[in-house]
């Protein structure tokens, strides 16, 4: 109970009654018995296994396909809360696309001095190959996953903008599917907005971004996966399947008559839109990493000629780079002319001497992240780190300060999970998925809620023992 005082619990902010979005659920929950619900929990696991929603763990036995643990208590967001998030995220995504266009063309924002030029010039996420390139339809980030955290009734922060290849949307869809199967009565009682149209929206969004002058009658869309051993292979296959698109690998593709073409039972057939789940670096051995076996030699030349849409565009990583993150409020204001609706988490850039000094003084209270790291690796969570870990990290930080940013340890909100003893609060974050096409932005009401299953843990990444929850956005 000590915890509930320090952290905002989205269900029981006040212990005596559920917060309004959770009222209906709580009423239902009070009528259920714990044993029955525990049984449902294991049913959910069997369900996930049988449909094969697994992820491969790198470096482990290939046969070892893991499940991301699923918790059956939903994370519920009210219509009003969602409306604000939607506006904030849409604003952010527009700004990101405007920024990407600018940074690969005239670089007005640098000329205006709103971002220091060295942050761009010396950044690995900035792709010189993209300078002057115009993506078909003008869209850079067709799919964005914005990571949000919450600390109070009205306090949402953007933790990270995933503008490269955000993953996890298959869990959003399958978590809902599972909940519908297990608890149909909840969905007849409560007004939960559906998420199931995401694959069709994705397909439409990608088709709308297709290049002009294709020889195909209608846009041919394919999903490019690194292959069956990739940790997110399930998601790649899932999305291709639900969109009715082909799932292709490097070996299926080559450049044929100036177009990207896939090898079919009847010869090569041109592709218009490639939703690629392969990182920039591996996309084209002729233009990027020459050792890549995952890409298509020459695809960048086709791209530059405007004959293929790559989703997302190469070089979008500069927009979600951690070195740039702290400038996002300026970026948003610069391109939209309005202040950011959703705030950033306060961030110290360790490259700046004053900030570094502050961070070094407060290491035990802060979260320090590598600028290019991801997945919860290579970071220090001050409050839970040992003295020894902090000392070791301090050395790394002093050696290469510009490689790090630091943030206060946020009092992440909690949502209950079902444990053996009943409900218990655990920290969560939220990743809604946004689709951008030349003429519209679509946001599916919901997203992926990741939950740290370990008591007190603030790290929600699945690679670090996190689980997921179904995310409900309530209708009006």
């Amino acid at each position: 109970m000590d915890q509930s005082k320090r952290f905002f619990d989205e269900m029981f902010a006040r212990p005596e009654a559920a917060r309004p979005p959770y009222e209906g659920y709580n009423q239902w929950f009070s009528g259920e018995d714990l044993k029955g619900l525990r049984r449902k929990s294991s049913e959910a696991e069997a369900f996930f296994r049988s449909i094969g929603i697994t992820f491969n763990v790198y470096g482990q036995d290939e046969a070892d396909e893991r499940l991301i643990p699923f918790d059956i208590v939903p994370r519920i967001i009210s219509a009003r809360e969602w409306a604000k998030l939607e506006r904030g995220i849409e604003q952010r995504v527009r700004a990101i696309n405007a920024f990407l266009h600018d940074i690969y063309h005239r670089q007005e924002i640098l000329r205006a001095g709103r971002i220091p030029a060295h942050i761009i010039a010396g950044n690995e996420a900035f792709l010189p190959q993209m300078i002057g390139v115009n993506p078909p339809g003008g869209v850079y980030t067709h799919i964005v996953g914005v990571d949000l955290v919450r600390t109070g009734e009205d306090e949402f922060f953007v933790l990270e903008d995933n503008a490269r290849t955000p993953s996890g949307v298959s869990y959003m869809l399958e978590n809902r599917e599972t909940m519908l199967q297990m608890f149909p009565e909840l969905f007849t009682r409560l007004n939960v907005r559906p998420v199931s149209s995401y694959p069709q929206l994705l397909r439409r969004s990608l088709s709308d971004s297709a290049p002009v002058g294709s020889p195909n009658d209608r846009p041919v869309v394919a999903v490019l996966t690194p292959g069956i051993h990739n940790s997110a292979y399930f998601e790649h296959a899932f999305l291709a399947d639900r969109m009715g698109a082909e799932l292709v690998e490097s070996a299926d593709l080559r450049i044929d008559k100036g177009r990207v073409a896939m090898r079919t039972t009847q010869g090569f057939k041109p592709i218009d839109v490639l939703y690629r789940r392969v990182d920039d670096e591996y996309l084209d051995p002729l233009n990027f990493n020459p050792d890549s076996m995952l890409g298509v030699p020459g695809i960048m030349d086709v791209y530059r000629a405007g004959n293929i849409t790559l989703a997302n565009a190469p070089g979008t990583g500069i927009a979600d780079d951690k070195a740039l993150y702290s400038y996002m409020p300026d970026i948003i204001e610069f391109y939209t002319g309005e202040p950011a609706i959703l705030p950033n988490v306060p961030t110290w850039r360790c490259s700046e001497a004053d900030s570094l000094a502050y961070v070094l003084d407060h290491l035990s209270e802060m979260v320090v992240k590598e600028v290019h790291g991801s997945g919860g690796y290579g970071m220090l969570v001050g409050p839970v780190a040992s003295k020894k870990e902090i000392a070791a990290f301090e050395q790394k930080l002093r050696a290469r300060p510009s490689n790090y940013i630091a943030q206060p340890t946020l009092a992440l909100s909690t949502v209950p999970i079902l444990t053996k003893a009943g409900l218990a609060p655990r920290h969560v974050d939220l990743r809604p998925f946004v689709l951008v096409s030349p003429n519209r932005i679509d946001m599916t009401p919901g997203g992926l809620t990741r939950v740290a299953l370990k008591k007190g843990s603030l790290v929600v990444n699945s690679s670090q023992g996190g689980g997921t929850k179904d995310t409900w956005v309530l209708g009006d």
């Binding site: 049988s50 291709a240 399947d241 090898r263 079919t264 009847q266």
Partner: protein, 318 residues
Amino acid sequence: MMLGKNAGGLYWMFRYIERAENIARLLEAGWHIALTRSNGGNGKGANEWRSILTTAGIDAAYHEKYAEYDSASVIDFLLRDRDNNSSVLCAIEAARTNARTVRTALSGEVWEAINQCWMTLKSTLARPVTERSLYDTLSSIRHGTSVVRGALHGTMLRNDIYAFSRLGTFIERADNTARILDVKYYVLLPSAAFVGTSIDNAQWEVILRSVSAERSYHWLNGGDVSPYSIAEFLILDKRMPRSLAFCYSKIGQYLALLEQDYGQRQDSQILSDRICMRLRSASVQSIFEDGLHEFLTEFIADTSLLANHIETDFRFYR
């Protein structure tokens, strides 16, 4: 039109499923013989096991690992040995891996069926199968693969995806039936010793059991068990779903579907039509006159050539 890789994946998925079933069937036949005729010590039982391993094309691999042909070792090797690519466990795993690669081409039900089959067998075959649980294990293999087949029939579009799946099944089956006959062809030869007598019970029993056709054979032939009628049944009888003629009528049918769909006649269709024609015009007398072994050897080689043509014509590659 579909990805060549997916066409290949489907074809191999169903070849492996068929292989797993065939191995289980051979094992069941061998086990039956071992139980009913092993009184001669290591004599007959061992011979049967050996010919079963030869039929499956894995006798050499077995011999590298074991010196004796005892039931427990053979059963383990056939069911779950990871060194044996054709073991049921490996075959189902290969089928499921192929299914994962071609998931977008499969209906949800087919995918779930093969995934479930793999999960069940993976846990059943995690430990050596005891004599007591052998029967249940074999049923569970049959059950698992039957559900996949049922889902395929019930939920898949009858297009090229279906054609490649079925081609995999029937190429594997034709090859398997021909091998069963070839390993035993000497039994069926009318030699001086057999003239006027029925062939050795154990021998025909194992042949018919290996193709799960003991009862259907007797139903069609009454009590008459002769080398001619067994060979005719397994080679030429189009009612028998594992006969060479039946397999080739299906192979011909699905290759014709692809020819029509793709508007192109290729090497595989030409060769398959030739083999079909030969099977249609052959009689069991002419096969025996020209040499059963020669006939089967040529058939196995042709089927393997056809499999190669299919891979090239439809741009499978792995």
